[in-house]
Structures are given as structure tokens and as C-alpha cells.
Point group: D3
Chain length 229, copies 6
């Protein structure tokens, strides 16, 4: 699987253990990103097209050409129930690659949603269908079907590397990519972080200060912070 | 009617057949734009100021000066029930040209909404009134009333040419302009496209692939697409 | 209190009369901004992270370093019930400085909300908590705690000067800063403006034109505006 | 000639009197724009790809599809000595539509330069050739040749309407469009303005203040300006 | 001197010791900014309109209204030889407030240059005159003269607070503001930093590594950095 | 070598055959990008900090933390004569990570230049030294040295994947990455393309039209292009 190779469709990809994906599902993007040591985030210009959108699943990847959505149709066939489709482009383009018809087709296959470094349209219909989409733009401009790209090659989407089978998590806080081989450790770290945060939240709610909870006062003094009355 | 001419108000414009406008109303921006062969779209930075906003109607046009909303007051008088007000500016400006008072005045005349290549304010009130506005920005900065522009001259709004009497359609997918003389053909083409899409949607929902529905497999092979196992 | 001085925390600030703050509370950002003669607005890139967010209260200010949220923890201790926290940064940075835990801590102290020229995360949780946040970005990227800044020094936030104790008002139309010493006059001017607008709104609703209500016809003619039939 | 009509090439356009074009040539964009009453400017994102670039001539227009430069080749044939090529696109696209080869071809026909609401490449070569180009981006990304657009239809380029035969002037201050039918009056107004400015420049250089030269003191006082010592 | 107060001209401001300004002059923006502890920078969108531009001098400040350059004419009279004019605006606006005529007038008074959070034009002439300008945009769009602002009040320009008499330094690296009362210490700290850097540069040029020069190896190891062969 | 792994320095990387790198050197970014089938480009926001900058060489990669240039010092030690340093960041940040001192150190090691998805400063000095830098911003804002990243791991820089040892080519047209294993074929394809273009350029210069040279007339007619007189 070459990097951003053009003209090929890999029909067989390694998906992660679905039980592990289900264990990752409850966690938000911020938690997962921190659990991975602060890596894996897409650019913050990737936004949900409707507020309630959220998704978690293994990636089928597609490399698009600018203003050309031909490969999305090719990609649909490679999607299995539970997958997320991740669409990158060889350059920046905000045209409307995706709308209600493609969403209908993906939903029919059990696809959990789309992450696309491009534009989409039929946003009201997508919300009504409850089909989650994260995109860089909302744009009605239609696309052509004339140049091929690839399916299931490694792609760079919104500045994040996505290999087919990596797990993609998206919510109102953004989109994060968990490499397949790091899934188990990320589930564990997310769980630990989440438990840890619950306890912190309880104490902060009671009025304990972060300055005390995190024992910051000494370090701040050492750094030279001065309190003036 | 000169192009972006400054200092004139045309009190008489040709509006399209209102029955035709009503026939266009059910269609979304993406459909109408495709029905016109992919033309007529405004820039995607034009967004509804509240989610449920939508409009369709003949344009009364106004050419504003930057940071100056004087001509909006002049334009109100030219608006008839069913019209949409389309405001362009001689340069880029995001100041808050428009708010609750002007919306009240336009609503009193039966105006269907505003499309403005500038900023607006009182957004919560606009939503409560149900007065649809599509703008490039939300901004409280007030404007002055010192330099004249024009009403009902051809204007370029968010990169689209709008002649008075053209029909403007806007929804969550953006804003599109239908030249008055192309309205009948656009209604026909939108209707045809919509019917066509309904049938496609039905088949895609059943699980038929776009690859088969659109008979793409041969063309993809001819283009050199390779499937690897 | 030096301007954007680094390394100090002022524990004592002068807050405005809380009765005056309560009198300002009903007014929207656009009204307050106009009442101050068109000054005090932050840049329009400052947006609520959920639609219903709104706030009004005296500012505790914090100067952050890029990608470093250490000083937010220091600032929490300086916040009293009714205050708004205003966070500026020594440079542009959209990382996620703030999320559910800090919001929990601020809410526990009766803080009315946050205005931050940076990014935030846990947006769904913030909405659920009803903790208002206005920010330049939504971003999951975490921050470090290694460099000190200041608390309660004058800061420039989104191009507006904010002194500790100034009153900050924010809603869907943006964010505006009322200098503490101008609070009384701004309440008076906002009240007057609001009363004035109610009467105007009533008349515009009845169909009176702004052209007549504001007596613009003569001035427009003097400016050379020509009506063509 | 329909507006932004797709699929046609008009081989016959009305060009302006070349003597008039030559009279306009010495004037800069700012002067011409003011001479036309503040209209006709393209968006300021249109920049010269090398500092010394400048052009003035009648427009041959071309409407491109995104990421597709096929129509540029069609347009070359319609260009005569002295013309400027103006390229608009049906949507926003920064791909590299144009480079050294097309510039060589245009130069061979006596073309005075290109104005394109898209990207270009081979910038060093363009500078070496002395072929002036004004574009929205510099980008190496290549384009395809698969979808037709139009030549010599009215286009909207960087928010300005350009009819074939309109005169386009570009320099380091931007790009301005002079409608063919307004060329004579614009030459006259530019000449007058230029003469006027020369005299003003002389007096300002001697130290006369604009406040006195333009007799502003009374108006400023009337507007309420207060001098404090 | 109220903050961003509208409608006043302060004719008397405290300028810093000109000998100190001369001592600051040799230092670049990056050095001065670091010497002040990382504060005082304007936003990086402020760019020189020609490459060789650079300036250093006490600020005469002006608060402009959007699209209105009236106050620039008022400000000229307050400028003395050696001053820099710093122009802020009550909102964001990229129109061309300033060109050759105003530059001629300022140069006649010995002004060292302009820093403006807006647009300028006649850029080629400015370069030819050698009059340094730092701006957020180059734009031909002209402005009106109808609304007053202020001269010599504190302003926020490109997110930096500038008090009249503060020293402004600008070069290809950006623009930085030195508060008048911090000038002496900033000259001293800049001198020290510069000397220090010269020695470092000498050693780095000889091939000594920063890792050794700054004794970083131990800290990196403590932070957990691992070298793999 | 894990993807964007944090906390490691790979001291041994495979560099490409230097003779092949030398053969690639004469070709521009546009040519190389086309020779690779339209892939490998960084985002067009990556610009040379001075016009004459250009570079070609194998990449040493570094993953930075936002606002923290510690790892640049670590990376310097891994650079050999002929290498290019490619710096990515875990998030978007425009601070000034790099200036004259680091450039001096890199130049002392024979480094051919820097490509950084961040800001740089001391731009005039870099030009004087003739040290090529391509960056997303010019910014004086200094950085800290407190959080580790990595050296010589695969990184995503300005949306392009860069593996250590890949060849990076940059000029006024942008930045492109040639995977090490595709270097030989890219040299061959670039050479072929370049030869091909020379012949085309010769013919276009003589006045042959692209329409004829590329035999487009039939295809355009088939696509429905209509010529109107």
C-alpha cells in the first residue's frame, strides 16, 4: 500500500477488533487525543455539518481528485457495516463532493459516517437521516466524474495520516485518528484518563482549586509568579 | 440599468411570473444549481444566521458603500410582498449593516428575506421573528448613513451577478441566483432532476451500488483503475 | 497594573457596582456597543460555542502564553461569584486551553462564563452544564503548564483592551467591553436607546418607512440620489 | 452573450478604441478606480506574481471549471495583440491552471497579460519572460482537461463583472475593470484627477497641510472634534 | 486620555528621550520583542508594503472609522520630525486609507513612517519615495471623510495597545510596541541580548552545537527523550 | 519508525543516492509534482521567506510541539551536509521557531535549507546568509524549550507525509516531497517531461496553438463546445 498512490483499490484491509472499537466509542475526541500523547488530531477546520453528529469506526480511505467525486462511488463498495469513510484530496478543494444520494448508499451498507477534507451538500437531509458528516465546508457546487484516485491507500486528511483500518473518532470537538496498532493501548489510556477526570471533576465541583488539586503553588512560585495585593 | 452604477434607484423592475417562483420554491439550492448547469452559486462563505433559514423570491438589489447602510432604507421602499432583498457592497466589509429594526420594516412589507455580502446583528431577534438572513458575517459594529449607492442596478454579490428580478434561492447549502429569463427552464430542469433523484434514492436505499446504477465499472477500468486483493 | 505585564497576579481589583451590572444585563451587545459610541467590540471571530450562550459581568483578566493553560488555574482562585473570566494570549493560538474540568471549577465559584482569544474543547459538556464560553476556535489540542503569564493586568483580547473590573457583555452578536468608569453612562445610554428602538419598531411594524421615520428623503436628494422610472 | 453561459465561444467581440486604451495606460489602478466613482475593483486577494507586473488592455474572458484548464487553450486562439486574458471560475479553486507554456503561447500572440481568479505556477519563468500575471494564488497543483466552459461570455472574476472588451488595468495596487462604454469618460476623469493630484502633491510637499488644502477645519469642528492641550 | 475615546485630538503628548530612541534603532523587531519578555507584538498580518521598509520612532496615534480616512489628515498636523504614525480602526477594514498624497504630507513633516491596521495604495510610489508603511492589506478602494475619530488617544492596533509616545519598531519580522516608560530598560536588554547573540553566533558558526552551547542534553534526557540507532 | 511518535530521535536514516538527488536538482516543483502523477505537494501556504530561495535534498524530519523549538536544536545534530530539515508541528502554530542563530548552526553543518509548518524570524538575515527557508508565516514571537517531540519519525508537514530520507524540493512554486523509493523513477519522469516541454515551448513560441499541438479540437467539439460568430 503505497502512500497516496493513484489508481488502485485495495479490496482487503485489516480492520481492528470490533470489540475494541466498541470500547473506544464512549470516549470523546479530546480524551482520545490526550490518551495518545497529544497526536492524531485533524485540523480544527473539520466541523460537523450538524451539531449532534458523532462517529467512531475503522476507516475505509479514499483519495479524491479536486472537484471530482468519482472515487466516492468506488469507495462505497469497499465499506462494510461499522466502517467510517475518510476522504482526502490531492489538493485543497471545497466543492460539494457528497450529498443525500451517496449518504443513502453508505447508510444502506451500515456505514457510520463520513470524514471529508472537502465540501458537502444536502446538509438538512443529512441531519434528517442522522448520517454524521465532518467536513471542511458546506458547498452546493457539484463535481465531475473524470479522473481516478484510489481507495484504501494511506492518505493525509486535514493534516493527519490515515491508514485503512485506523479508527477515526469525531464529535463536536473535532476529529482524531487512532492507528490500528495503537487501539488497545488507547482504549486503556482513555479509560484511565476518564476515570481520573471523574474524580477530579467531583473535587473541583466541591470547590477544591486546581492550584491545590494539581499541587501547582510551589512550581508557580519557583517560576517567579508574584502575588500583589 | 448600468452595472454597479452609483446614485440611482430604479423604481420599476420586471419581476418573474409568481407562479413560476412558487414552482421553484420546493427545490433546494443544490438541485437548482445543478439544474442550471453548475452556475449561479454565491461563494460558500454566505451562511444562514440561523439554521432553519430558507428563502426563494425575486431580487430587489441594493449596492451599499462600506460601513454605510443608508441605501438599505432606500431599498425597503422598493420591496414588494414576496421579494428578496439582495445587498452587495462596493468592497469587502463585515460591519453590521442590518438588524431587528430593518427586519421589522422589511417583514411589514412582506419581504421573504435578506441576502447580504456583509455583516448583520440582532441574530437572536431575527431567528425569533423567523426572518431569514444569509450573510458573510455576524457583527455588532454599527454603520453610518453618509454615502449613497444604488437600488435595482445589476450587482455582484459574493461573486454572483444578480440582476433585479432574478430569483434567489437560499438554504443551508448556500445561495444560488436564477436569471429571470432562465426561470422556466430551471423549474423544468429542477423538477426533472428531482424526480430522477427520487428513483435513484430508492434504488440506492435498497443496496444497489452507484457503480452499477450509473454504469461506471467499464469507464473506471478504461481509466486504468486497478483492484488489488 | 502595567500593560500585559508578565509574571504577576493582582489579587485585589476594583469591581463595578453590582446593581449597575444588573441594569446592563438585559441589553444586547449591539445596543451596548452603540450606546458607547461604537467602541469596545472584540473581533467578530469571537463566537459562542453553543447558540444559547450569553453573559454579563466584571472581568477577571488572564494573560496566557501560547499553548499553555497554567495561568487559567491561577486565575480561577481570583474569580468571585458574578465575575467573567477574560483570557488573552501573548500571540495567536487556537489550541484547546479550556474544557469541562476548568468549567466545573469556575462554575463552582459562581463564574458567569469565559471569553477566550484561543480554543476550547468539551463543547457538548459545556452546553450541558450551561456554562457560557465565547472563543476564537473549538479545538481538542491539549496545552502544557510550563510558562507563567499574569492575572488581573490590562490585556488586549481579540483587539479590545480589557482592564480588570471592566464589564464584559457577550451574546450571539459578539463580545463588547464596557470600561468600569463608563458603566453608569452606558447603562443610561443603553436604556435610552432601547426605549427609543421600541417606539421605532412599533412604527416600522405598522408600515411606516425608515425614509420617513428618519427624515432621510431630503438628505438623499441633496446627496444626488436619482429615482428612475 | 448570456451571463456565465457554459459551452460557447464568441469569436467576435467589440474591442474599445485602441487609442483610448493607450491614453488610459499611464494611470494606476487607484486613479482609475476613483475616476469611475469607486467601482470596478476586483477583490484585493488578486496579487501580481512578481512585483514589477502591470497591464492594461481589453479583456478576452474565459470561464473555467474548477481544476480544469482546458478552456485556457481555447481562449488563446481568441486573443489578439494588445488583449488581456481574464479567467474566472465557476467556483473557488487555487490549483495551478497556468504556467510557462501557456504564457509562451499568449506572449506569441501579443497578449499583455493574465488576470486569473485561480492559481498559477512557473512564477520564476513568468518573471523572466516579463509576462504579467495577477492571480489569487501560486500553486503547483496541475489541472485536467475534461469539462468545457466558455470564452468571451460575461464573467464574474474576483467579485467584479467583466464583459469581453472591457478594459482591465492591473498593478501593485490591485485590478480594476473599466466597462468599454465608460472608457472615454474614465480616461477624461483619470486625466483630470491626475493633474489635480500633481498640484496637490506639490503643495503638500511644501508643507501645506491637508486640513488647509481641503478646507477641513470648519467641517471637523462642526462634527464635534475637540482639541485638547 | 481615555481608551479609544472618540472625537478628541490631544495636541500635547509626552515623547521619549530621542537619544534613547536612537539607541533602540539598530535592533530588530525580534530582538526588541524578546528583550521585553515576549510582549508588545502586533499580529503577524501586519506586513511591510515593500521589502526594505523599516522604522523606529515615537507614536502619534490615530483612531479611524471604517472606510473613512478623515482623521489621518487631522493626525498629520500632530506629527513632528522623527515620529511614526500609528493608525487603528474601530473595526476591521482593509480599504485603501492611505496613499502617495498623505505620504508626501507626512514626509514633508519628517515622519518616519506609518503603521496602519487597514489597507493602503500607491505602493509603487511609496517604495520610490522610500516612505516605510506596514499595513494589513494593499487595496485601491478609496475612503470617505465623514465621521470623526480621535488623535493621540490610546489605541489597539493589530491586537497591541499603543499609547501616544510609545516607541514603535517595525521591519520584515513584524511590528513591536515599546511602552515609553519601558524604553530605557528595553534598550539595555536589547543591547545585552544582541551582544550575547553575537558570541553565540560565532560559536555556532564554528560548529559548536546548540545542544552543548545551551547545555540541553541533560534536560532532554530527564524529559525522557530516547535516541535510537 | 512509528508515525508522529513522540519522544524519540532516530540517529540512523536511509538517505537516497546523492547522485540521484543531484539529477533531480535542476527541476522545478511543478515539474517534479507532475512527474509523480500529481501527488506529494504541500499546501500552497508554504512560501519562501525571500524570493530567490530554493532547495533540494533528503529530509531530516522533526516533530515540534506548538510554540516550542526545543527539538530543532536536537535535530541540528542529526543533519548532514546536503540535507534539508523538515519541521512539522503537532498542531497549527505560527510562532517564530527559527531565526539567524539556528540558521547559522544548520549552515555550519552544510544543511541546504529549512521547510517548516510554522513561523520564522530574522528574515533579512536569512536572505543575507542565503539560507533558504519555506514557512507558513513570518513571525517574531519567540518560543519556549519545555516539551519534547521527535526527530526522524514520519511527519505530516503542511498536509504532506514526509519520511526521513525522502527528497524535498522547494522553489517559488511551492514544496513537493519525493518518497525515497520513488526518486529514480521521478528523476526519469521529470527529465522526460522537461525535454517534452522544451519542444512544446519552441512550437508555441512560433505561434502554433495548443488547440492544434495537443489535438484538442475534436474532443472539444465532441464535448459540445459551440463557436458563435
Amino acid at each position: 500500500m503505497g502512500n497516496q498512490e493513484v489508481g488502485v483499490v485495495h479490496t482487503r484491509i485489516e480492520r481492528p477488533d470490533s470489540a475494541l472499537v466498541d470500547q473506544l466509542r464512549p470516549f470523546g475526541v479530546a480524551t482520545v487525543h490526550e490518551a495518545m500523547g497529544g497526536t492524531g488530531l485533524m485540523r480544527p477546520y473539520m466541523r460537523p455539518v450538524f451539531t449532534a453528529a458523532g462517529l467512531c469506526g475503522p476507516a475505509v480511505t479514499v483519495l479524491l481528485q479536486p472537484g471530482d467525486n468519482w472515487m466516492l462511488h468506488v469507495a462505497v463498495e469497499q465499506v462494510r457495516a461499522g466502517d467510517v469513510l475518510v476522504a482526502a484530496c490531492t489538493t485543497e478543494c471545497e466543492d460539494g463532493y457528497f450529498g443525500e444520494l451517496l449518504a443513502t448508499s453508505l447508510a444502506a451498507r451500515g456505514c457510520r459516517g463520513l470524514v471529508i477534507d472537502g465540501g458537502v451538500r444536502d446538509v438538512a437531509a443529512l441531519e434528517q437521516m442522522g448520517f454524521p458528516v465532518f467536513s471542511r465546508a458546506i458547498h452546493s457546487k457539484g463535481t465531475v466524474k473524470s479522473t481516478i484516485g484510489s481507495v484504501n491507500v494511506p492518505v493525509v486528511c486535514a493534516n493527519a495520516l490515515v491508514n485503512p483500518g485506523d479508527v477515526v473518532v469525531a464529535d463536536r470537538d473535532g476529529v482524531v485518528v487512532v492507528p490500528r496498532e495503537r487501539l488497545a493501548e488507547t482504549v486503556a489510556a482513555s479509560t484511565k484518563r476518564d476515570t481520573n477526570e471523574k474524580e477530579k471533576r467531583r473535587r473541583l465541583k466541591e470547590g477544591v482549586l486546581g492550584l491545590d488539586l494539581y499541587e501547582m503553588r510551589g512550581k508557580l512560585e519557583a517560576a517567579g509568579l508574584t502575588y500583589l495585593d
